[in-house]
């Protein structure tokens, strides 16, 4: 095995292990904390700790998935999912984030909108977008979905300052990363790689970034 491969495998295995151990630790922490009477201020701190620990866990999952997406035999596992159910689940998963960051989610989606995707991968992509919004200081995030004959569209809109111009102008799908938006750019680069693994006939999934009046807008396009 070439050295580069071994290096990657080593990191991946280690991250996998860290992720599992952290999961156990956070589980224990939850149990301990639920047994203690806390003041309001402490409650808030606990929420932040939980939110941060969830972030770390999600981040590790994301890194692992991104790493795997670089290998040749990476393939997604699509099934039919209804957008409303999926987006509700996304919001439910972020209950700690909501509490810790004073965040407000809104959901706008018809019951019948559905698409074919790997939901564990899409959870990761949505996480990337949501954490980007929080980092940018947004307090409201709107999730919505529509579909046409070819694609399912998922929209993530926030009320933050919007994407920096160079990110909109530059082609983040090529991995070109500016200093200021380094983590945002890298996150989106991998999110784009992950969504590109959703293919049907000659259609491929993609991510578009834009700014609207209220803030940043991410559009995920997934072929049906």
């Amino acid at each position: 095995m070439p050295n580069n491969d071994i290096r990657g495998e080593l990191l991946a295995a280690s991250i996998h292990e860290i992720k599992n151990r952290l999961g156990l630790m956070f589980g224990e922490l939850d149990d301990v904390l639920s047994d203690i009477d806390l003041s309001n201020k402490q409650q808030l701190q606990v929420q932040r700790i939980k939110s941060e620990s969830q972030f770390v866990g999600n981040e590790l999952v994301r890194v692992l998935a991104s790493y795997k997406s670089l290998s040749d035999d990476f393939c997604v596992n699509v099934d039919q999912h209804f957008a409303v159910e999926f987006l509700e689940e996304v919001i439910a998963r972020h209950s700690y984030t909501v509490a810790a960051h004073n965040l407000q989610f809104t959901l706008d989606c018809d019951e019948d909108v559905s698409g074919f995707f790997d939901n564990s991968i899409l959870f990761i992509i949505l996480d990337t977008c949501i954490y980007n919004s929080i980092k940018a200081g947004a307090k409201n995030i709107k999730l919505s979905a529509t579909e046409d004959d070819q694609y399912l569209y998922l929209f993530i809109e926030d009320n933050g300052p919007g994407f920096p111009e160079e990110l909109l102008e530059g082609d983040f799908s090529q991995g070109s990363i500016s200093i200021e938006s380094q983590s945002t750019g890298l996150g989106l680069f991998f999110a784009n790689k992950l969504i590109q693994s959703h293919q049907e006939a000659d259609l491929t999934g993609s991510i578009q970034l834009s700014n609207n009046l209220s803030g940043a807008k991410v559009t995920l396009t997934i072929p049906l």
Binding site: G23, S34, N77, V78
Partner: protein, 544 residues
Amino acid sequence: MALKLIPYHKMNVLIIEDLAEMRSSMKSMLSAIGVQHTESVNNGEDALKKLRNNTYDLVFSDYELGRGKDGQQILEEVRFNNLVKPSSVFIMVTAAQTQDMVMGALEFEPDGYIAKPVTLELLKTRLVRIIRTKDIYKDINVALDDENIEDALNSCNRLAMERPKFALPAYRIKGKILIKEGRFEEAKDIYETVLGIKRVAWAILGMAKVHFFCKEYEQAQNLLESLAKTKAKYVEAQDWLAKSLEEQGKYKAAQKVLMEAIAQSPKSVRRQQALARVAEKNGDIEIMWKSCRKAVALGQNSCFKTPEVFIGLAKSLQPKIKNGSMRDKKLCTVEALNLIESARTDFELTTILSLKCSLVEAETLINSGKEEEGKLAYRVADTVMEMTANLSLDDRLDIFNTKLQFETEDNAMTYGKQVLTDIAGNKRLQVKYFQIIEVFLNNRPDERLALVKERGEDLLLREDVEDALDLYLRACTFKDADEDIYLGVLKSIIGRFKKGRPDRHLTQKCDELFKKLESLPESDPRHPTLEQLKFQWEEITGDA
């Protein structure tokens, strides 16, 4: 869709949750949304009792329930035995950390998942969603409640026609019903249709099951292996893969698949039973003992309880009874005899199983030093043996093993030779046969060593390096292991490397043995062989 009020006040709800605080918090949240009848239990065994005796409209089960069954095991029994009406709702409550591992069951799936921490708001939204989704399939489920299969199938077709968005889920249900009814050709059509639209995992598994039931094991194997490549977490697919391998006699491969599945999800009774079964076939007593022990423990109060693992556990305790410390000996003897007793009283044994029981009983007694009682038990077994036709070759090897202990060596060997003839070219059974003799010759080291050498040369001649290596490595631990054995190990390892299966641990073993053999004088007739092996080894290691 019109918003209908969900009649929570009419619902009978069961909560399965091991932590008292969580139970009461769930209860108060449910009553806040209008539920009036809730019951709760703190473990899987009690849950199944309740589910057998009562009817619930809504069941919440925590996935992680501490000791005993987990939520998935409860769900499997529930689905398998129809303990919850098809129209009722079963919800799995999962911890955030394990959520991704738990979600995505293909065969025994709940109606929905709720992630912890469960807050009132989350509970409300998720419940409404899950119940309303369930409502889409109401016609199908009501027909299934009444066991009206044709109606259910028609309702699936109608749903697919009227609401094309729900065609795939409708076909998913239809495929399951058809398989359950044994209508495999129709099921095949359904899965072909679905796979023509999208290669979704549940349809691949469905198709593989159809192949399995039609005895097309290799096709089933291929489909399931392709599924394993996309995502390893489908343990159900691994179970079916192991089954397909087992049916083809590929027991080693089956054992590997099952051990991986168990590492991921250890609490399935049937998975442990399957592992016990193939480990016995492979003569892997250690794994057989572990899996039997787990299967017996998990099988308590389970509909999947079988006598095989009781007898298997007693059988796999024999090495400990024979060679263990005094304490082990005593404990294991009592345990084995209890297991045999339970197998006899708790189950209606077939002739073959009661024969196996008597054989293990006889063995337990003689191994624990109760020779006379053992002989009595053997005599019982012997009479059953005479009357039993259709014994498998594995069974006959067990009988041969017992005969070696209770009958004259000539008699036993006559029986053994006949079995060996019948085994013909089956490598796995040959390995088992020679292992039995090897163990039998434990106290006659000269003969044992001669046997091993003869067998080893035979295996090497046939280029069966894996079995040869196993044999020689085992022989290395004999007190009287000599140069011939060491050379045998070297030959098998080099043969293995040449076949493109290198292994770091074996490299160390090789170096170690070459060092040991340095003292072999040049005058020794085996010296040229050693030189040749050295040369080949340098060629191999030089390349790397």
